[in-house]
Symmetry: C2
């Protein structure tokens, strides 16, 4: 497997990841990928067979890296509190290390995983299962109060993907001089999420697990939010 002037397969892989992240699967043309990679379009089909297989390879690599880390954390011997903290740190640092991940995953969520294969979907499920296992362990040992695992998952994953994926739209808005977004770094995000997770998961030191909502009681509302929207009841 010689690697001359420049490994064309790798060049395609990285150019495609950047294009898919910036424009989405169907808006990205193979011509564009080839031009960006500096290779001939036919090489994409030589190496990957189709645009979809190329895309799937990219997504799978991304989610595999995340699941590998979160699984190791869940299976470790640290306490549940530290495991949650490590989960957050792992997820954020993966998002930071692979700038293409957040936009691609946001789109894939929005699209219902339509472009993915069953194996990759299972890997994605595995990331959630890692957190689920940690939360269950915390329940067993009494370290955590009862929380909804999916909501906890979304409260870690959602802000992280929004934060790292929103760079371009923040720039676009900034150029309109409407708002000045204060700068944020990954360390601040990790710190924020850790605090949030700890405060949400650990029993309140001054009372029951569900403290009174200080000054944030429910308001009377005019709009009706009666019907549940389908499957999430």
């Amino acid at each position: 497997m010689p690697r001359e002037a420049r490994d064309s397969r790798r060049a395609i892989f990285e150019a495609a990841a950047a294009e898919f992240a910036a424009r989405g699967f169907s808006a990205t043309g193979v011509d564009r990928i080839a031009r960006r990679a500096g290779v001939n379009k036919a090489m994409i089909y030589y190496h990957f067979g189709s645009k979809q297989r190329l895309y799937r390879d990219i997504v799978r690599e991304i989610v595999l890296a995340i699941r590998t880390r979160t699984r190791a954390i869940a299976a470790g011997d640290a306490g549940p509190g530290r495991k949650v903290s490590s989960f957050i740190e792992a997820f954020v640092s993966e998002a930071q290390a692979r700038p293409h991940m957040p936009p691609i995953m946001m789109r894939e969520v929005a699209e219902g995983g339509r472009h993915l294969d069953a194996g990759t979907l299972r890997v994605i499920a595995g990331v959630f299962e890692s957190l689920l296992a940690i939360l269950k362990e915390g329940r067993r040992t009494g370290a955590f109060i009862r929380v909804h695992p999916l909501l906890m998952y979304f409260t870690i994953v959602g802000p992280t993907m929004m934060f790292f994926g929103s760079g371009p739209i923040r720039s676009a808005i900034l150029s309109l001089a409407a708002v000045g977004f204060p700068e944020v770094g990954p360390e601040l995000l990790i710190e924020h999420l850790r605090k949030m997770a700890v405060r949400t998961l650990t029993p309140s030191p001054h009372g029951a697990g569900t403290p009174a909502r200080a000054g944030a009681g429910p308001r009377s509302r005019s709009r009706s939010a009666t019907t549940s929207s389908g499957d999430q009841a």
Copy 2:
């Protein structure tokens, strides 16, 4: 402006919103929209001029509805704590009332607002500005501790969009029998976010604003997360 058998403009508008939400801007064909709306394809161009203008109209209507509500909340005379709570409730209930909103907005964030006009981007900025004003007011009155506004915004908006936008991918994963997702309703989400916001924003009753991280200290890590990935510093 007579509305006979069925207003074709409205039919197109709603069919397009559903298609754009499910497949994204470029993966959605005008043929598909027309078929779903039960009208002729030429009617799309008669009413909207182009696929992009149709898309922009849809997005603008969505974000305008949100900004109208959040602005009114920020300008109201309730206390900051209640305003944050109302902001959360407004955002969640808009996401629930318009099922097309979360996927469309997730994609638009991922794409950097590429398909949007400046006016719509400004409206999006206005939603954030509503929360920003509330947070500043809370700082002035001493009700809130110092938090990063953008992180707070993402921690409300991110989980909400993930929650409502992830229905299809959860179904896809569920069909693989890998994980059973526990059911969640919007009320639980609102409750969860409210608690999260209150605990993050209000000064700790038992000490300084930044409590010790109970069992969640930083771990030594082997992976390096040194370089900042470009524009998000």
